[in-house]
Symmetry: C2
Subunit: 310 residues, 2 copies
């Protein structure tokens, strides 16, 4: 069994001027996750570190760089799940926190609950000594520009659609065969205040079970929830499907049944992995056997050695 980490930076339509930065951010995060696994670290440590790096990277719709809601504010959702005992932690509607993924992990480790929302989640953060950051520190020029653009009466629906891209997530298998997932997002551009998407919803935004595998999802959140996409893919794997086939079956079902597009990264406990999507693009990267794989369009699988300079 070869440890592996697979990372996505969101499904959808990624503007050309942003795709290079997205790809280098993903490859860099995948390397960081892989170094943890190679050093004997846990899959949970790896996925949280990967997602923390992507939250801190303003190219993605998570943490700093999150899209803005209808009111022009950042409200973030995140989830982690540990395949060993199905432990999970999630937060929804949190603001003023740099790294919701770390807060989700604290919910898993330090409370008897699975999910905390809004002000209750922020209060918990304070009680754990998680520093509050000024709201504007999470808002990029680009996010503000797109928000303003989408408010215009003649807003282009394709531009609006782009607001859905950029959720980040990761799955990993460590040297002991433990699987884990982590997903973090700013949600949908111009979403209603308080809108909770698929990300913090267990079985939708992610799921991890050492007996089957792990999935992290991205795409049209409402569609993902209606088919509980992550759990659906793992059910297909329980029925004997491979990581690729199960991922494709789940995505095809979502498209045909509720008309939704998206993408997933999937692993099984033996280290097989897949990055699949029904959307136009999904930025992804994977690291295994000292090689980084990455791609953006369907069919792409570029590689670089882990020893190559970034």
């Amino acid at each position: 069994m070869f440890p592996v980490v697979v990372v996505h930076g969101g499904a959808g339509h990624i503007p050309k001027e942003r795709s290079e930065k997205s790809m280098s951010g993903l490859c860099s995060a995948a390397r960081a996750g892989y170094v943890i696994l190679r050093g004997g670290g846990s899959s949970m440590d790896a996925v949280v570190e990967v997602v923390r790096q992507l939250e801190n990277n303003p190219s993605f719709n998570a943490g700093c760089g999150s899209v803005l809601n209808a009111k022009g504010e950042v409200e973030m959702d995140a989830i982690v799940m540990d395949g060993k005992a199905l432990g999970s932690g999630a937060v929804s509607g949190v603001c003023n926190i740099a790294n919701p993924i770390q807060l989700a992990r604290l919910v898993m480790n330090k409370t008897s609950h699975v999910c905390l929302t809004s002000e209750g989640a922020n209060q918990f953060a304070r009680s754990m000594g998680v520093p509050e950051v000024p709201p504007e520190s999470l808002i990029t020029e680009y996010s503000r520009m797109r928000w303003t653009k989408n408010l215009a009466v003649d807003a282009d629906p394709v531009e609006c659609q782009m607001g859905k891209m950029g959720t980040v997530g990761a799955v990993a298998v460590d040297s002991e065969g433990n699987v884990a997932c982590a997903t973090s997002t700013g949600g949908m551009l111009n979403k209603m205040e308080g809108r909770v998407g698929d990300t913090p919803c267990i079985g939708s935004g992610g799921y991890a079970d050492n007996l089957v595998g792990a999935v992290s999802t991205t795409g049209h959140g409402e569609a993902i929830m209606k088919v509980t996409l992550a759990r659906l893919i793992l059910f297909h794997m329980e029925q004997g499907q491979s990581v690729e086939a199960a991922s494709d079956l789940g995505l095809a079902y979502m498209k045909s049944r509720v008309g939704g597009l998206g993408g997933v990264v999937t692993v099984d406990p033996r280290g097989h992995w897949a990055a699949r999507f029904s959307s136009h693009q999904m930025a992804w990267a994977a690291a295994q056997k000292d090689t980084v794989h990455y791609g953006l369009y369907s069919g792409e699988n570029f590689t670089q050695s882990i020893d190559d300079p970034l």
Copy 2:
């Protein structure tokens, strides 16, 4: 195909002095739902009316009668799902609303989202003209008493456990073969502020799909989420299991895998139904073919005619 509605009033340990009121409330609600179905109404109309009545009944942990969180406040979660197109609406962490189930239905019908949380959900309620009620109108003497008792240093853990009982839910099949589910709760007694349980989490607190059936769950919310209990039971039905066998398989898996107890009401689109639980008790009632069935302990199935006086 015979229309049916199946209702639960929560899994757990129901104090003797409250069981009679619970049972009569459930039978009355099941009758009301059945009358809607018999008159050609939809399964969604039936489950929402059933749950609305139970929210208004102070004997249950939903709406008026909700348990209090650690701060002594009511925070409620609810979900509806329509099996026709997998449409769903949910709210989490709402307060000052008499009927969260109606708000969940409005989220489904009037927004492009599936779930709204906390202040955002309350703002949406205001925008829809849903009246706000004073917080104390949802708090019963009994809720206050239990909350105070559980704060005591020598609090009895069995009493604490009782705090989990009383979530309400319903599933139904209408004369057109459409299935629907609805679940509503005040959550766990002395929960942290902002704790979101299984109820508003699609696939955990409920799921409905015309091709398979519908489930509404109750019990230990965190355990239900870890196994996405409602969706799990429907997967077993997709594999050919009956409503009873699938429900029992799901509950047994939850017990063995994560040590959680609970209960479910389940229907398939042909009108087969089940009310099953792994907890000590679950108050339930079902109405089909002009007969009301009900029970509290394992193996019970009392009946009354729909024409009998209540």
